[in-house]
Subunit: 220 residues, 2 copies
């Protein structure tokens, strides 16, 4: 019953899902920007996705994924994140190197492959950036997380996600000894530049507003 879709279609579904989750509403221009393509190409594809009942779409009126489209998108995200986990945990890749490779691997079609991989990896709950991995039924747990900028003072929390995935942010985080799971507390907020003073296990450090925005934490 698992129909096969082209890599291109899968990329559209994933992009639409992603935009839907973050911004709520999705536009043709947004999708074009996300996929580095042209609005005209997006319209072409929207029609095809509608014809396959993966998308609810009325021209000029907007669009959103159908239930089926959502299911397909979640399976691609599952594959992407499991492969990222594999690359980092088993093949010792850096955090910042895995995205592109996973963009290719996520289109491998075998369901059995991905379920076996999941098992081999010990059914991980999140990928190396802290993003949740949907299970084989497409279910996932969205943890209650906030940007470090919004964490109240003196509240113990744990790093659960890094929004930016560049190697530049990785360099900085490594330098400051911050990783997924690191415990921290905000001790002071400076209104001049919105920088934060952070208490970590054995040290106090300063974090810029720019960096803090990209660190999501959950209270512990």
């Amino acid at each position: 019953m698992t129909t096969k879709y082209s890599s291109s279609k899968e990329n559209y579904l994933k992009a639409i899902f992603h935009l839907q989750e973050t911004s709520g509403i999705v536009t043709t221009n947004d999708v074009a920007a996300e996929l580095q393509t042209r609005p005209a190409s997006v319209t072409d594809m929207l029609k095809k996705l509608k014809a396959q009942k993966l998308l609810l779409y009325e021209k000029y009126k907007g669009f959103r994924l159908s239930n089926d489209g959502r299911k397909v998108a979640l399976q691609i995200i599952r594959k992407h994140r499991l492969w990222e986990y594999f690359l980092v945990e088993k093949l010792r890749f850096g955090w910042d190197e895995v995205h592109e490779i996973a963009e290719e691997l996520e289109h491998i079609s075998s369901k059995k492959l991905i379920d076996r991989l999941d098992e081999f990896l010990g059914f991980p709950k999140t990928d190396p950036h802290g993003d949740p991995i949907p299970d084989s039924q497409g279910r996932w747990v969205q943890v209650q997380q906030v940007p470090l900028t919004e964490l109240p003072l003196n509240t113990p929390a744990e790093v659960s996600n890094i929004t930016d995935q560049s190697s530049e942010i990785l360099e900085l985080l490594n330098h400051k000894n911050i990783a997924l799971g690191s415990r921290m507390e905000v001790k002071k907020k400076f209104s001049f530049d919105n920088s934060l003073e952070i208490k970590m296990r054995n040290s106090h450090i300063t974090i810029s507003a720019e960096l803090a925005k990209n660190i999501l934490v959950k209270k512990v």
Copy 2:
């Protein structure tokens, strides 16, 4: 320096390499049969491969891989066989289930990925069918092997390759307790049906001519 080629081009290079190795000479019709496509489509692709200097080709005169084409083909074979090994050894797939999945995985482009995978697997020399895995330079060892039908009487040998990759042959081999590495000796050949009497570790068994043709052995 590693140029990217389409999956389709890679499949042609692999097919031509394969035919070149087994039959010596390759024809348009052979390639069409191997790839389940039409001769006209093959001719189209031969021109493109020639334009990219992957193939030495003169129309109506035949063709063969250039050095570059050979290198590309070997890298795809390397990827295919490493993934097969991974699927069988790490994800517990059966021997007969892995080919199709590896057909997809072999087109993932990252060289670093495949070299890391090789390392993770412990630099295996052969895939689960006994076919040699080229190293990252494209070097490979072709073991001296013959079909069981051509092994002289009373000569100790070891199963090194199974030519056929179907699940039917696997079923039969499992039943007879034959696997890669099994030791055997041919004790008698029956000219009536060309069947063989084989001595194994603790038993004597009979093998049909049809099966024996598909079992390659190396002398020990």
